[in-house]
């Protein structure tokens, strides 16, 4: 038998542990019900948000239940003076393990199979629709270059050996397709409600094209051209961030995405100097 004072201290310690775990669960709920995601501005993003909300709800529940159960067990069994349940039979162990097994199969595996991968397939496995606006985004330390194909719908050939201060993308002036290309630095304009097909490239190191409001994130890899597409649903000015470590200026590699009504976009694009006129 433990002494009375010792026993009391023990009970208090168990209670304290439980209290801390319950508090963590409550704080978790308090944080989990807040809106953390940046306001949504793209079509496929709704699917990604649905996936995340599903996980916050189900996984969050497991987080709360887990902490409460652990806290309760610690509180309850730190008051006991003897072992009341010793060894489960092999059968009982197997049966009980079905619970975590099934829960995870449903929540984690079920979540990705039923909700997640269909969205993933829609986002990644389908090519951009034919009516999409084509934009080439070329990342470099520490800026975003944006290029539109112009009226001919074709991007001119580039060659890194042609890169110069005036021609940061190394566009080949000999290529007829290059003449009407429109080159911008740091600001990308797109129309609302129409798919945007981004051809992503990098001049130097890895970068990642991150549009927090659009639920778009795609690494830009030197030597590769990666095609992605998304459809903006809101007009306004949004930020482009770099999400893959690219050097000392990584934290300030900021670009802007201006989503305009379609007619404003067409007017803007038509007003821009082309590669032929500016070079």
């Amino acid at each position: 038998m433990r002494e009375g004072g010792e026993q009391l201290k023990h009970t208090l310690e168990g209670f304290f542990f439980a209290f801390v775990l319950f508090t963590i669960a409550v704080v978790g709920i308090g944080l989990g019900v807040q809106r953390w995601l940046p306001p949504l501005a793209s079509e496929h993003g709704a699917g990604i948000d649905r996936m995340i909300r599903y996980l916050i709800l189900t996984v969050g529940t497991l987080f709360v239940v887990g902490h409460v159960v652990l806290g309760y067990f610690i509180w309850r069994f730190s008051r006991q003076d003897r072992v009341t349940y010793r060894l489960a039979s092999a059968r009982a162990e197997k049966l009980w393990s079905l619970i975590p097994g099934i829960v995870m199969a449903l929540v984690a595996e079920g979540g990705v199979l039923v909700i997640g991968l269909p969205i993933w397939q829609k986002y990644y496995l389908r090519p951009a629709p034919p009516d999409a606006v084509l934009v080439e985004v070329t990342a470099e330390q520490f800026a975003w270059n944006v290029r539109y194909p112009g009226r001919d719908g074709r991007l001119g050939r580039t060659d890194p050996r042609l890169i110069s201060y005036e021609n940061p993308l190394g566009i080949d002036a000999q290529d007829p397709a290059a003449r009407d290309d429109v080159v911008q630095l740091g600001v990308m304009y797109v129309p609302v409600g129409r798919p945007v097909h981004v051809r992503l490239r990098s001049k130097d190191t890895l970068h990642s094209f991150f549009l927090p409001h659009f639920r778009v994130k795609q690494d830009a890899v030197p030597g590769m051209t990666i095609d992605i597409w998304f459809t903006p649903t809101q007009t306004g000015e949004f930020e482009i961030a770099c999400a893959e470590l690219c050097g000392f200026g990584h934290f300030q590699m900021r670009g802007l995405l201006r989503v305009l009504p379609p007619e404003d976009f067409e007017r803007w694009l038509a007003a821009q100097p082309t590669f032929a006129t500016s070079f």
Binding site: V20, V59, F77, Q80, V83, A108, L206
Partner: protein, 590 residues
């Protein structure tokens, strides 16, 4: 033909150098590893504090620090290159030189022969060699801070081109070369250690110690060592290729057309993605190399403080195996948005989330082990219980990241930072501490201070949640990791001030570790003398004399008659029955 190792072959060396420095005794080597890890943890921890200082108050000036780091913090303001070197080296040191060394090599070496009833590791000389290979690795890593350009700055993942092209980032000079050499030496050492662990577990178990009578910690060491042996060599290969790219003009990871410093580099034909595959082929199993032994410690610390067997021993072993197998085929979940084929991404998402099933079974068994217990909240028990909570929190966060779809938004944000700190930072750290409080009496013959231990636990536990749970939500808000400051982006404006709170909590976490250091060294000299078996535990190490002599056991090796968790056997004279007690004295219950 079985040869009984003779006691005389293990005669203790007399000289100081052979006894304490170039020792082949697994216990000395274990403690050497442990102390080395502690020293590296101090460095890694200081780096973390500097990181948090910058992120909490990015515009502030610290004139005092300008004197300490004249280059990195000239004028008292941290420069971005130095910040990148800090995060790179913090990650590298903590993962490879603190957790791997302390938990796997330190505890592993010290406990493995004791817990299986052997006199030493299978290859004592190899064991010594592995330790003395890691010492220069540590020295090289630390030295890299003082070379031109500073330490490596391409992240602990060392993605090329940043890590391959000198012009890409200042740390990509000599610092990065030293990083690669340090890693290569570390891997060589860890591979020797792994071979030794596997061989010792399979061949050196004492009579009666069948595999299913092994303590779970030994099981986790076995699986972790096998994983390490399979996963580390590809990284060595990758590191050598990277070295060739850097200094030999090859193009394994570098494509054509790279434009740096106003000229096109002559490389052509390589792919940066190749490095990512090779790195994560190691990197993901490495996570399990760290976390499985941590779970092993947690699982083994529960029975002595619940006074009852662990729940689901067999299923835990099977689950550990399942995790081990699955961990080899899920590396691509680090690369969902890397430009890898999205079809492959689906495979990796499904595979990754399959790991949740065995992991949840282990978590469930940990909690279920408390049912019906006579729980005693001594310091090691607190840490074991804390690591269950961390494992749950970290594991659940992983479900968001293993899911390719939600990972699009969360990849490379603070959600990832919060998640992996709970797993390979939190579970492992608590296991490391819990294990230290628990085995300290065996190692040094003295008890650690209980009151300081409890304060250490509570500060660590609460501050850890404050730091890393908050970071999950910052990640949901889109806050990218590896940013030197969050002041340039408006979308971060609503959440960036939380960083000051996170930093304060991180400082509490840092200070709490000083309590541990004080406790450790105070107890080493002034702690209460420990009894032979202070926790009244059943595993073999507590049958050996304290501290165990060279060769561990007297004339004869002990014989094992039961599994390691025979607590509270009905009708037994005590509430614990050591593994050596024959069935004629106390009934074997499993």
């Amino acid at each position: 033909m079985a040869i009984e190792p003779s006691v005389h072959a293990h005669e203790e060396p007399r000289s100081f150098w052979r006894r304490y420095i170039f020792s082949t005794d697994h216990k000395v080597i274990g403690i050497q590893y442990f102390l080395t890890a502690m020293g590296m943890a101090l460095v890694g921890g200081i780096l973390a504090m500097l990181i948090r200082l910058q992120l909490g108050w990015p515009e502030a000036k610290w004139p005092l620090l300008a004197k300490l780091f004249p280059r990195g913090m000239s004028g008292g303001v941290m420069n971005p290159d130095f910040y990148l070197a800090l995060i790179t080296m913090h990650g590298t040191l903590m993962i490879f030189f603190v957790i791997s060394l302390g938990l796997v090599s330190g505890f592993g070496n010290y406990l493995l022969p004791l817990q299986i009833g052997a006199r030493d590791m299978a290859f004592p000389f190899l064991n010594m060699l592995s330790y003395w290979t890691v010492v220069p690795a540590c020295a090289i890593m630390l030295a890299s801070f003082f070379v031109e350009g500073g330490a490596a700055a391409s992240g602990w993942t060392a993605y090329p081109p940043l890590s391959a092209v000198e012009q890409a980032v200042p740390g990509s000079g000599l610092g990065q070369t030293l990083w690669i050499l340090g890693m290569a030496l570390f891997i060589a050492s860890f591979t020797m250690g792994g071979l030794n662990f596997v061989t010792t577990i399979l061949n050196e178990r004492t009579r009666g110690m069948s595999m299913m009578r092994l303590p779970l910690f030994i099981w986790t060491l076995l699986i972790a060592s096998i994983l390490g042996l399979l996963a580390f060599p590809p990284l060595t290969a990758a590191a050598i290729l990277l070295l060739f790219d850097r200094h030999g003009g090859t193009s394994f990871f570098l494509p054509s057309g790279l434009y740096f410093g106003e000229r096109v580099l002559p490389h052509s034909g390589g792919s940066p993605l190749l490095w990512q595959h090779l790195f994560w082929f190691l990197g993901h199993p490495e996570v399990y190399v760290l976390i499985l032994p941590a779970l092993g410690v947690a699982l083994d610390l529960l029975p002595p403080f619940t006074r009852k067997p662990i729940f689901g021993y067999r299923l835990t072993v099977y689950s550990l195996f399942a995790i081990g197998v699955l961990s080899m085929i899920v590396w691509g979940h680090h690369m969902f948005v890397s430009g890898m084929n999205p079809y492959v991404g689906e495979f990796f998402a499904i595979g990754t989330l399959a790991i949740t099933i065995p992991s949840a079974i282990i978590g469930f068994n940990l909690i279920a082990s408390l049912w019906g217990a006579r729980l005693q909240l001594r310091t090691p028990a607190l840490f074991a219980l804390g690591s269950i909570a961390f494992f749950g929190t970290g594991g659940l966060g992983g479900i968001f990241l293993g899911n390719a779809t939600s990972d699009i938004q969360l990849h490379d944000t603070y959600f990832v930072v919060g998640h992996f700190h709970f797993m390979i930072g939190g579970v492992t750290l608590l296991a490391l501490f819990g294990g230290t409080y628990y085995w300290f009496p065996k190692m040094f013959g003295r008890m650690m201070n209980e009151r300081l231990g409890k304060i250490h636990f509570w500060l660590t536990f609460v501050a850890f949640y404050a730091v890393f749970l908050t970071q999950h939500f910052l990640g949901l808000g889109g806050m990218p990791r590896r940013y030197y400051a969050f002041s340039k982006f408006e979308f971060l404006a609503p959440i960036r001030d939380l960083n000051a709170f996170v930093s304060v909590a991180a400082f509490v976490l840092g200070v709490a570790q000083l309590i541990f250091l004080v406790n450790f060294f105070w107890s080493l000299f002034r702690g209460a003398r420990a009894e032979e078996n202070p926790w009244r535990a059943t595993t073999l190490e507590w049958v050996a004399p304290t501290p165990p002599p060279h060769g561990n056991w007297g004339e004869t090796l002990s014989e094992v008659h039961r599994w390691p968790y025979d607590y509270s056997v009905p009708g037994a004279p005590e509430d614990f029955t050591p593994q050596t007690v024959p069935p004629s004295v106390v009934e074997v219950t499993r």
